[in-house]
Symmetry: C2
Subunit: 103 residues, 2 copies
């Protein structure tokens, strides 16, 4: 769903990825990461969609909160598997959300 | 595809949307907007995916370039149709990309 985020400024991590063929345990780990990220300090929301590419955007209170999630031990293991098995390519962009509006 | 963007800083517009049922001319206009946006001054790239929600991220050199695209006449007409016919809800976030890395 569309995340209900607070009044800016806050931070966004845009994760754009191109998958390899097959699952190789991806779905199980992805579901676990969705569960885990929501327990992280400073987490504000998660939006995800996949067509030819996948786009997952996570929202955060601070840059420190993003760094803590990046260094989470279970997440580090998933990142390693991501490079080894699940992703042909990906790009991560760390952003400061300056304005937002909705309909 | 994953956009080849320059070294940060640059800007991102995250457009997250929930569609109404049916097409109502959406596909034709969406394709035209993809064609049109690439001619805009300061446009750097576009990434899009749709599952339960749609996420489209466009990348820009400056905030001025984002404003010019928002005010493009053909795009204004599309925005109006978007509210009237295509979207049950959407959220737009204007962001400054501060760092990026890839695999």
């Amino acid at each position: 769903m569309i995340s209900k985020t607070p009044v800016p400024p806050y931070y966004a991590v845009i994760f754009t990825s191109l998958r390899t063929d097959g699952d190789h345990g991806y779905d199980k780990t992805a579901n676990r990461m969705v569960e885990l990220v929501q327990k992280q300090k400073g987490f504000l929301g998660l939006e995800t969609a996949r067509s030819e590419i996948g786009i997952t955007v996570s929202y955060w209170k601070t840059l420190e909160a993003i760094q803590e999630w990046k260094n989470n031990l279970e997440h580090l293991t998933a990142q390693k598997s991501g490079k080894e098995k699940w992703y042909a390519a990906y790009k991560i962009r760390i952003c400061k959300v300056e304005r937002d509006y909705e309909f």
